[in-house]
């Protein structure tokens, strides 16, 4: 890692950590702010290799813009799926409506972070749980009924692939 790049990463880490410090402490006097600056700069320096791993800041900005478009859509899908599972669970003929099954497919997403996002999004959506995911993109999904299994991989995969520029 280049010296200048490492410096800017440490500085960005510091800004993120200090922002959270201010939210969590809620105290803005000199003593608490000094403590915050000291501990945040120590942690930012030690953890420089962990928090930001993308190759450039332009990539990070692009990913965050992509995420900010993806998260409202994901929340809406979670709401729809939650209502679906709630109605399923409360229905009187539940045993005839459910059809637990494991579906397998190979995802076209290549990047590790993209696969993690995809697997976590699937598990967050009620009705589908990621059972296994490999680094090559092989996924095994446990779905509770046919309706939950139908939309996979589909739209969600395309949207995540778009965030990570594939």
């Amino acid at each position: 890692m280049k010296k200048t790049r490492r410096k800017s990463i440490v500085f960005t880490n510091f800004l993120i950590l200090f922002f959270f410090w201010m939210i969590f402490s809620g105290k803005f006097d000199a003593f608490h702010l000094t403590l915050g600056v000291l501990s945040c700069s120590l942690v930012a320096w030690m953890a420089a290799d962990f928090l930001i791993t993308a190759p450039s800041f332009a990539t990070i900005a692009k990913q965050w813009i992509g995420f900010s478009k993806y998260i409202p859509w994901l929340l809406w899908q979670i709401v729809l799926a939650n209502i679906h599972v709630l109605r399923l669970v409360l229905s009187r003929d539940m045993n005839s409506r459910i059809n637990p099954q494991i579906i397998k497919f190979r995802s076209t997403i290549k990047s590790q972070m993209g696969l993690v996002t995809f697997a976590n999004s699937i598990t967050l959506t009620p009705g589908t749980i990621t059972v296994a995911a490999t680094t090559y993109g092989d996924m095994a999904i446990h779905a509770i009924d046919n309706e939950s299994a139908a939309p996979l991989p589909g739209d969600m995969e395309k949207r995540i692939a778009k965030i990570f520029g594939e």
Binding site: L75, N99, P100, I102, N120, V131, A132, I144
Partner: protein, 105 residues
């Protein structure tokens, strides 16, 4: 007015909690019960925490605003950790050799 909206959000959140708890009892096996458990900590937590955050900010001060931000951060962290934990539980089941329940048997 805001108090009533937040009360409504919390009550709807509790409906999802109730549904998730009933689902954990009613569904047939280990894997499908986790679907109901997943519902608890997505919609249940999301709606009840949104209601609480709204209730806290209705009397707007800096301290209350920071409390509301902390409540929102709880939701963010639950949304990141809960699928990971669910996946770990499913993986433990698969490794132990538990077969999923299907319609045929």
């Amino acid at each position: 007015m805001i108090i009533w909206i937040s009360a409504l959000l919390i009550i709807i959140g509790f409906v999802f909690f109730l549904g998730g708890s009933l689902g954990m009892i009613r569904l047939p096996d280990f894997y499908s019960r986790l679907h109901a458990a997943g519902m608890l900590d997505t919609m249940g937590v999301f709606l009840s925490m949104a209601g609480l955050a709204l209730y806290v900010v209705h009397d707007f001060t800096l301290g209350n605003f920071l409390s509301a931000l902390k409540i929102i951060l709880i939701v963010v962290f639950v949304f990141i950790t809960s699928p990971t934990a669910t996946h770990a539980i499913v993986d433990a089941g698969v490794r132990a050799g538990l077969k999923p329940w299907t319609k045929k048997n």
